[in-house]
Symmetry: C2
Subunit: 434 residues, 2 copies
């Protein structure tokens, strides 16, 4: 009688990662994390599950529809986090007295959103957030900007362009032309520029702000076409006059020049839609594949902890969307940052020698070679085929103290008098290939 089995499958919008995807993914995470730490940023972690009230506030709105929310065994109204910023706000409010400000933290973790699935959109994805809270200095904004460039570079993203703008400047401009009351609608509309195109934006803006205001707004946005940061900034000062915001942007410009940081443009069309940002905002595009959208976004906020504390905590931060970045790198065929160690396998000549085989493999592992041990004493050619299937470039065949190294890709053998020499050959060839 045939027993029925449960169909093995994952939920829509969720993914398994096989080693071929997960290994480069973890290498990217490691590169990003090493970069964050090199700037003195420290790691934190928070629960995946929180009180729904904490995550959603007292309101609800657009976000609520996407959140995985349910009642737990204890009758608590709980939800899975949908980003890392809200839990961070709660974290800072809760642990304020244990933190030293300015507090620089990173948090790399999964978040969940039950949104409609489409290309490159998943219901479970990884965010890499880095924030500085408790400093109002433009130097903090610059550090985040500098880290965006450095961490994406470390992750193997190649050349990138960070597009920055200042929320308060945009709002000051809107106030100046008498459209301050339409700020939310205008920012939301302009945010869609790259998605819906200039004509559609003009149409929407004319509908919401009228023909004359629309023309002025387009003039503001189109300042980005001036090109160089300093020229765009001068044009914006022409349009809006000097202000704290333009002084802030001028400071950033100076810091960029002093540190010889390229690939940053001032783009007054960047608004970050409905986000809670109040100052400088960032979006980052891959020069090889800008169409995939921003792979790292962020900005400055006045008060992170408003929902949970009467003390005000400003800061600035950004978040790398790892899934989009990985998809982009796969599409452009870029080699991941994977600083993969050389791999080898020790052939099995006698199944009863498993103890000395592990001891022999340990010598290679200690030298930085990831060394697998084969268990079945089949013909060597079969073991070579197994190595090839597994993508292992070297098979070690041990005879007494000496080794025959099978170079799987070139189908040739190299003799080595001992483990030391064998390891040297593998390490040298590993270096030559990379």
């Amino acid at each position: 009688m045939a027993e029925s089995v449960i169909d093995p499958r994952v939920l829509k919008g969720f993914r398994d990662f096989l080693p071929a995807q997960e290994a480069p993914r973890r290498a990217m995470l490691e590169a990003v994390e090493t970069c964050f730490r090199s700037f003195g940023f420290l790691p934190i972690d928070t629960p995946a599950l929180e009180y729904a009230e904490i995550l959603l506030g007292k309101g609800g709105g657009e976000t609520e529809k996407q959140v995985y929310r349910f009642t737990d065994h204890g009758g608590r109204d709980v939800a899975l986090r949908f980003d890392l910023t809200v839990p961070f706000a709660r974290f800072v409010a809760e642990h304020r007295s244990d933190l030293v400000f300015p507090f620089k933290r990173y948090h790399i973790a999964k978040v969940w959103r039950g949104e409609n699935t489409q290309k490159g959109r998943y219901r479970e994805f990884t965010q890499c957030d880095f924030d500085i809270v408790g400093s109002n200095s433009a130097a903090a904004d610059f550090e985040i900007l500098f880290m965006i460039k450095e961490s994406l570079g470390a992750a193997g993203a190649g050349e990138t362009t960070v597009r920055i703008n200042h929320r308060a400047l945009f709002n000051r401009f809107l106030d100046g032309i008498g459209a301050g009351d339409k700020s939310v609608a205008v920012l939301r509309c302009v945010d869609k520029l790259s998605k819906i195109g200039g004509d559609a934006v003009r149409e929407h803006l004319e509908a919401s702000a009228g023909r004359e205001q629309c023309a002025r707004i387009l003039e503001f946005i189109n300042a980005r076409d001036e090109g160089e940061y300093g020229v765009v900034l001068a044009r914006l000062v022409d349009l809006c006059g000097e202000g704290e915001d333009t002084a802030y942007l001028a400071d950033l410009h100076r810091y960029l020049k002093d540190s010889k940081t390229g690939g940053v443009v001032l783009d007054p069309s960047i608004t970050r839609g409905l986000d809670y940002y109040t100052g400088v905002v960032y979006e980052t595009f891959l020069d090889k594949l800008p169409a995939i959208g921003s792979v790292c976004s962020g900005g400055r906020y006045d008060n992170l902890t408003a929902l949970y504390s009467k003390e005000k905590t400003g800061g600035v931060g950004a978040s790398i969307g790892l899934d989009r970045l990985q998809a982009a790198l796969e599409e452009t065929g870029a080699k991941s940052a994977a600083n993969e160690k050389p791999r080898a396998a020790l052939a099995c000549l006698d199944e009863k020698e498993a103890g000395s085989a592990q001891a022999a493999a340990s010598v290679f592992r200690a030298k930085g070679i990831n060394c697998e041990v084969f268990f079945e004493s089949s013909k060597l050619t079969r073991q070579y085929i197994l190595a090839e299937k597994k993508g292992i470039p070297w098979v070690l065949v041990k005879t007494g103290e000496s080794f025959t190294l099978r170079d799987i890709r070139r189908r040739r053998d190299i003799e080595a008098a001992d483990a030391e020499k064998a390891a040297g050959i593998i390490l040298q060839n590993g270096l030559l290939q990379s």
Copy 2:
């Protein structure tokens, strides 16, 4: 009017990790992962959320009560994973044709169980699983055993003792004394030995199996008191006769000797309770703090994928309980594996020099020193205090090309003519301290 705020708090049984806990935690994970990879194990990842049917099977039982289960927006019956083994079974069944066997994988991730909270028990915790599927060789069991020792050593666990037993041997013994039908109750009872003590076990066994069988079972269990692996094994052969299981245990003994692996004892009282193991089982104790319980457990199973596939897939694996391990290391005051890089901070003398400050700090970062940049140009003594609060041992004060290095702990200054020399001093002192 005072606005009300939401009380910032986490759910019972859940935890925030501040940098002081999270940094050593990530260092432990990195050490464990590096070890897994050195054995040629590859990483995978699976969704946190799965169909409840996949995770719980068609039955339910004890596990079900602890699982976070709910209905999603699409009306699907879903649950958060409560371990990494069940998702792995589903994964192997689903991707069988894309995997090369024997398949060696690791998976480090969080799992959730809504069980009663008690000391050292959380509702969200991290597991580090490593398994070999598709090999019936005792060499595979030995590799897992060897990896338990190596990975815990890498994580800073100090000396460990792995206690092993063979499920089939225990069952063969029970059959031999006519107690085969009571196997489940007996194994479950014996599994509690370390928790409830010998007297309570005797009482329970007498109640379920009668006085005579109880005496025989205790004789079997007490073989562990013989001490050395070979002597215990000889005693078990006396009690049960030779079998495939004792031959298997003899193979493992040989591999242990050949590889000079110490700290492994044969302990017939280890049963792993109600787990799905069918062969060798492992529990691992810290020599400094055995009372905290097993920090790494596992064993061999006949058929991982029974629920999802008609093809049989045997294997062997183990899982490090990171939270218990970290708690134990904190309790014993053991230094974590954290191969922490030296840390420094660049003092701020002029807020407008943020650009060149980042460029200067980059030189230190590239040399492997995690270098923070301070943003506020307060008095140097205030910046030293900030560094001390943050636990940063060095403050760099840059004048032209030269640096004054403030040694925060020893309250002294060291002069360096350039960044190269300054980095050298920090790296050398870092080495001296560790």
